[in-house]
């Protein structure tokens, strides 16, 4: 038989448990839109000795499996998505369909040379040749500027992402320390929620593997196995860009003790994507454009020098050949021999046929389609088309990869939201149930009070 003391204890326990449940449900509702937050429940248990109900420490409902899958998929999504902006700009630069790129300018130059071959003694046609060559030079330069902007934009974005990664890993390492020493329950759960959100952000940026430890901390490493967060120690990522001719982006890891580790395996996430687009597409595109420009000018000059101008002179350069291949696409200028001197354009091959011989004009017209102009044996036209096609292929690969991974991320986020998110309906039900329990406990306490009053009145 229960004593009044036991009845009061049971009622008080029920009252406390109800209040805890209501407080917990309120906290869940308050954090319904907090990134990384997992809904919490309050475990209720019977007190020893039949002394009523006991509310335990709130437990966050998390899914390690889904969180890990989401982190991996977000890494792949970030990898593809990060490439889109810069590759799209590069595709725009190499697009001939808009009628203003290098392809149309090459055709205009060919047209001017061909027109001069039909009327080689005309100064007007020769002037057109020089104007078209100047326009071609401007188009090469502007295309190079656009490609360089896309390339350097990727490098700048990579630096910014690395800075964010380093800030996040530092915060995660600090959170590891706080979580380890935090009291279980709300305090610990809040810190874990924050860390979970940071890990989600980090996964998109760099591609990570996460390992939970028994002490509440997490060990984070890149998908290539390099540690990023070890207990409370973060490792910083450094991005470096080598100057030409290498023009490669690389990275290294700087541990908290100052030790520098070379990055050997490819990174994932945005950083990996930016690095791949830089090293595999954007920097090679700039380099290839310079090669095309340099070797085109070189071959054109050789052919031009073997021809004769309107006065029978020979050996004139057409382009001012830059000192090196690097930057050549931005330096396509007419030589002093022909700039302002249309009569010096060497259209004839036979000195006795001047001014009506057009044989050199014809050879110059055909030069752009001629194989072997570039060191790899390709023609100027083919090399340019291949460059554009390579950029487009890389862009399409990134687009299809991003679409595919976005779909997976959406599904995983839905699953995770379903499993660990806050349902307002559920929380309202819990509040209603807890209110009922509180009402019941209040009734019991009120009854005990009435009983006690009655007994005291009887005694008096």
């Amino acid at each position: 038989m229960s004593t009044i003391q036991q009845i009061l204890s049971q009622a008080t326990g029920g009252l406390n448990a109800g209040q805890t449940v209501v407080a917990n449900a309120s906290r869940n509702i308050a954090n319904v839109n907090t990134p990384g937050y997992a809904h919490e429940i309050v475990p209720l248990s019977a007190q020893y000795g039949g002394l009523g109900v006991l509310a335990g420490t709130p437990v966050a409902i998390r899914s390690a499996l889904l969180e890990r899958s989401l982190a991996t998929t977000q890494g792949r999504l970030g990898f593809h998505q990060s490439q889109l902006t810069h590759l799209s700009a590069a595709e725009q630069a190499t697009n001939d369909l808009d009628g203003i790129g290098i392809g149309p300018s090459l055709r205009d130059f060919e047209q001017a040379l061909s027109a001069a071959s039909a009327n080689p003694s005309s100064l007007n046609e020769r002037t057109q040749v020089l104007q078209s060559a100047n326009l071609l030079g401007s188009t090469f330069a502007s295309t190079r500027t656009q490609l360089v902007e896309a390339r350097d934009g990727a490098a700048a974005t990579a630096q910014a992402v690395a800075t964010s990664v380093n800030a996040i890993t530092s915060e995660i390492a600090a959170l590891n320390g706080r979580i380890r020493s935090a009291r279980p329950g709300d305090e610990s759960n809040s810190l874990i929620s924050r860390r979970s959100d940071l890990i989600s952000q980090l996964s998109g940026m760099v591609g990570i593997d996460v390992l939970s430890r028994g002490d509440g901390t997490v060990h984070i490493s890149t998908t290539g196995g390099r540690p990023l967060v070890e207990s409370t120690f973060p490792t910083a990522i450094q991005v470096e860009v080598a100057q030409p001719p290498q023009q490669q982006m690389s990275f290294s890891f700087v541990r908290s003790d100052g030790q520098v580790l070379e990055g050997k395996t490819a990174l994932g996430g945005e950083l990996g994507g930016l690095m791949e687009s830089y090293n595999e597409s954007l920097a090679p595109a700039v380099k290839r454009l310079d090669e095309i420009a340099y070797h085109m000018m070189e071959a054109f000059n050789i052919q031009h020098q073997s021809g004769y101008n309107l006065n029978g002179g020979t050996g004139f350069s057409f382009f001012e050949l830059p000192a090196s291949v690097d930057g050549a696409a931005g330096l396509m200028n007419l030589s002093n021999d022909v700039a302002g001197h249309p009569e010096n354009v060497a259209g004839a091959l036979d000195p006795t046929g001047v001014p009506g011989d057009n044989a050199n004009f014809q050879l110059l017209t055909d030069l752009f389609a001629q194989s072997g102009v570039l060191p790899d044996g390709s023609s100027v036209n083919l090399a340019w088309e291949k460059l554009g096609s390579d950029v487009t292929t890389a862009y399409l690969r990134a687009t299809s990869g991003a679409t595919l991974e976005q779909s997976s991320v959406d599904q995983l986020q839905n699953l995770l939201a379903s499993e660990t998110g806050v349902s307002i309906d559920e929380e309202l039900q819990r509040i209603a149930a807890a209110n009922t329990a509180i009402d019941a406990a209040s009734t019991v306490i009120q009854s005990v009070q009435e009983m006690t009053t009655t007994i005291l009145n009887l005694v008096q």
Partner: protein
Amino acid sequence: MRITQSFLNNMVRINSDRASAAVVKTSAKLSALSAVEQPSDDPVVAQRLNQLNKFDSRLERLAGNRTRVETDLKTADGVLGSMHEMLVRAKELALSMNNDTLNAQDRANGAQEAEGLLNQMMSLVNQRYDGEKYLFTGRAENRPPQAAAGFQGDDGARFVEVGPGAKIEATLSGSTVFGSGNEVIKSLSDLIDALKGTPGNIGLGQTLDDLDFARQTVLLARTEVGSRLNQLSEIASVSDDVKTNIGLEKANLMGVDVAKLAPELTSAQTMLQTVVETSKQLMARVGHAWMS
């Protein structure tokens, strides 16, 4: 499956993103000038369009070359026609002067007319055309073909590409127009000498034969020019057909299919509207649950 608030948020976001993207994409396709504006829109079609643009541009430049050559040849044809008429008149003159009843004054008058014809011919053939070049000097276009010392120029030929893989000679050499020994000009000089009675002249009878030969030489040159103009016309006809086909193929590849896209846009807009309405109801439901 638990329906949580973040799950609902995700669904609203994903569906509205997809529906908005569909509307934007379809609208962009409808408002675009071309169905393929950049290679990534359709790499295969883009590659074909680039090939067609390249070939089209080549046809255009060859058409420009044809116009240039045709202008020169038509000018030459006109000049040769005038030369032929002068030679016909010279022969008429020679025939009328080859008469024993004519006196010295008549012959002097005839000689004066013959000199006029020669001067006309010299000024005609020694004229710069397009203000730049002389015709009938082969490739030496900067020199008048006829000088005091006789013909000057070369017999070299300039070939110009006027169709894909088709070249045509754009120059006329002096020997084609004036004869290998400059007979056309010489026949008129001989006529003048014969009429003037210059010592050592070949006589009017011989000049008649020479004028006939000169006329035939000019006729042959004119025939040659006509033949080239015909070739140009045939090449132009074929090239125009090819260009038309290229234009049609390009139009097919680039054409925006409004009939197909309009219903797609309507469908995408309906989808977006549905997503917005559903989202509003979901949010209202959550709010209502919360308030009650």
